[in-house]
């Protein structure tokens, strides 16, 4: 939107108590996507003049841009608790219209007016380029702000037809920001950095992202595009592009057991104090070859740095690219160090790494790696259950991915019987399960991963009266692991429309016929408590109990009397005994100006009347003198 409707880069917000618990967690996850891909950040409101109040209204909606009204509402109502929906509504608040309302949209889509619900035609307005500015970014069919082809349809035929037919099932994506969404957002807010992105490296350039070979080792990592014993190609482009597709390789077959090769990243400067390192690893050496992940930290006076072993990655599967995550907690300048170690046993190859991403975000708790994926889509055998996992709180769970439906993939979260059940609270309270289908783009900033979350509400019951999230051994069904072990599986919660098969086959969700589902199960019970109110003293309680202040006014006792203290902002305030009236500097100026004008008008009227009276009086005097003069003259003749 044209005009000064931008927010400051850090936007004050309030998550109102009316929001559903799952929605609160999803909103906080959406903030993390803004922090990774743009310079927009969010902070709890601390009295700033303007802020966004996110509440559970009817439906999902927002205003466009910063309206400078103090409390600006944004509704995340029932069924709006999807991360891309939240991203969409916040993009409105940040100043975005819908993509197909651009002034140049008719070059790219056709609106089929006869298929639009009657009375809803206005939803297909366009803005002229005085009201809407596309910031020199081409039309974007993949925008998270684009309507889908079925928007406001009166039947079953699409209301929007893209002029390039391949985009018919692309428009209306609700997965994540598109590249162009981010280009516009970062241009609109003059972003030069992001809060949580640190580095991304796919080794396509010979400078290998500024990484350095260590001298404290026995061998170097080599910059290659293929290795005779595998991998035949890199992970970034999977060998699709001639002349590119490089990765780093440690040839363990050329060194003795125990020999090492250290590859160090460039120096990095953390802001948040926690990081997630992600990379792909391929093993063609000995099954005992291992990769050690170190950090080299540089406290103020230490130029050499302190090397610390963070994780040993062992039993690396032979012959395929595998995704790994390592959690770091660095607070000072540091390097990440990849240490290849030759293990016992024969080696005909070695270790390869590619597509490294480092960000100041939380790592997922678990990864579900599904191989030979494509054949499962739309197949009766496409009903998959993940291995069992444990949440940080100790709840055992399992994911069910249903690919057998003809058009959509479904995904569900199940609690299952586990080793800690006797020590855990039942029904399971407020654990939010977030399931992410990973878009395996080499650069984390360009991934449009598809994510949904469900939260265990301890009070939710099924129609046979049992609690949905009760102990699986009590309410679950008998099930068996592939090795024949019996366990209990609780009822699942999720969605049958997680992603369409068409979208599933797009982008890099499937790469090398492998798919990754990232899993996080977080305790969000802390989001449940309304801010702890100061325990009221007896007088405040009595006098204020029946004394209500409007517009978020606060009741206090002053001189033994209940009074309201009203909210105020930079250029607005509430007033009156109950804060029922709203004032603003703009109103005051208007009042002052109009009273000045009124006063001036009154003075003018008074002046005119007095002039008129004076003249009338004067004229009368003259005419009476003249009369007298005439009489005199008569006598005189």
């Amino acid at each position: 939107i044209v005009g000064e409707y931008r927010w400051p880069h850090t936007i004050p917000y309030v998550l109102e108590d009316s929001l559903e618990m799952n929605a609160k967690g999803v909103i906080l996850n959406a903030f993390e996507r803004y922090r990774l891909k743009s310079c927009i950040d969010f902070k709890p409101w601390a009295g700033e003049a303007n802020y966004i109040s996110v509440f559970k209204g009817s439906g999902c909606w927002s205003s466009v841009g910063n309206r400078h009204v103090g409390k600006q509402q944004l509704s995340i109502g029932q069924n709006c608790d999807r991360i891309a929906t939240v991203q969409h509504e916040f993009l409105h608040a940040l100043g975005f219209w819908h993509e197909q309302s651009r002034s140049d949209r008719d070059d790219y889509v056709s609106i089929m007016w006869d298929r639009v619900m009657s009375g809803r035609e206005h939803n297909f307005n366009t803005y002229n380029d005085q009201e809407s500015d596309s910031l020199n970014v081409p039309y974007d069919y993949t925008s998270v702000m684009h309507y889908s082809k079925t928007a406001f349809q009166n039947g079953t035929e699409p209301t929007i037809v893209t002029r390039i037919s391949d985009f018919m099932d692309v428009i209306g994506q609700r997965m994540d920001f598109s590249d162009s969404d981010l280009l516009k957002l970062n241009r609109l807010y003059n972003c030069t950095t992001s809060l949580s992105f640190m580095d991304s490296c796919s080794f396509e350039l010979e400078n290998v992202c500024g990484m350095i070979q260590s001298s404290d080792d026995n061998a170097d990592w080599q910059w290659v595009s293929q290795v005779p014993r595998g991998p035949e190609s890199d992970h970034s482009s999977m060998g699709q592009c001639k002349g590119s597709g490089f990765f780093m390789h440690f040839n363990s077959s050329s060194v003795s057991v125990g020999a090492t090769a250290l590859l160090e990243s460039r120096t990095l400067y953390p802001k948040r104090g926690f990081q997630c390192l992600q990379f792909y690893l391929y093993n063609t050496g000995s099954e005992n070859d291992q990769l050690n992940i170190y950090t080299r930290e540089y406290p103020a006076d230490n130029v050499v740095g302190t090397l610390t072993l963070v994780e040993e990655i062992k039993e690396i599967p032979i012959g395929s690219w595998q995704l790994y995550h390592v959690t770091l907690k660095m607070t000072k300048k540091f390097r990440v160090v990849f240490g290849g170690v030759r293990g016992a046993g024969a080696s005909l190859g070695g270790l390869s790494i590619d597509d490294i991403n480092l960000s100041e975000t939380q790592c997922p708790h678990h990864i579900w790696h599904i191989t030979n994926f494509t054949q499962l889509i739309g197949s009766p055998s496409g009903t998959l259950y993940s291995p069992p996992f444990y949440s940080p709180k100790g709840y055992a769970f399992q994911i069910h991915l249903n690919l057998s439906h003809s058009t959509n993939a479904g995904i569900y979260f199940h609690l299952i019987s586990g080793a800690n059940d006797d020590q855990l609270q039942w029904p399971c309270p407020w654990q939010q399960a977030t399931m992410t289908l990973l878009d395996q783009n080499p650069d984390i900033r360009q991934r449009m991963s598809n994510q949904r979350s469900v939260t265990t509400d301890p009070l939710m019951t099924t129609d046979n009266g049992s609690y949905l999230w009760d102990r699986p051994s009590k309410v679950g069904e008998v099930a068996f692991f592939p090795n024949g072990t019996q366990f209990r599986r609780g009822q699942g919660s999720g969605t049958s429309v997680f992603i369409t098969h068409k979208r599933l086959k797009s982008r890099d969700f499937i790469k090398g016929d492998d798919v990754y589902i990232l899993l996080t199960v977080e305790d969000i019970s802390h989001l449940n408590s309304t801010p702890v109110q100061p325990t009221p003293t007896s007088t405040v309680k009595d006098l204020c109990t029946n004394f209500t202040c409007e517009n978020d006014g606060i009741c206090i006792v002053q001189n033994g009397k209940a009074e309201c203290r009203c909210q105020s902002g930079e250029d607005w305030w509430y007033m009156g005994e109950r804060c029922e009236k709203r004032g603003s500097t703009r109103d005051t100026i208007v009042i002052a100006a109009s009273s000045t004008v009124a006063m001036f008008a009154l003075m003018l009227i008074v002046t005119l009347i007095s002039v008129y009276c004076t003249r009338k009086k004067y004229r009368r005097r003259i005419s009476s003198n003249t009369a007298a003069m005439t009489l005199e003259n008569q006598h005189a003749f």
Binding site: S63, E89, H122, N123, N125, T150, Q491, G492, S493
Partner: protein, 43 residues
């Protein structure tokens, strides 16, 4: 909730933002935009 293997939070419907708002009878500007006074007149 019906006792079944899975509880579908979307009720089996792949509803976009605008479908959700339409079903609630909200006739918001372009489906999910709330206009303030000035914008309303312009639009």
């Amino acid at each position: 909730l019906p006792t079944q293997e899975n509880f579908d939070v979307d009720g089996g419907l792949d509803q976009d933002i605008f479908d959700i708002n339409e079903d609630l009878g909200l006739d918001l500007f372009e489906g999910d935009i709330r206009l303030d006074g000035a914008q309303d007149r312009n639009s």
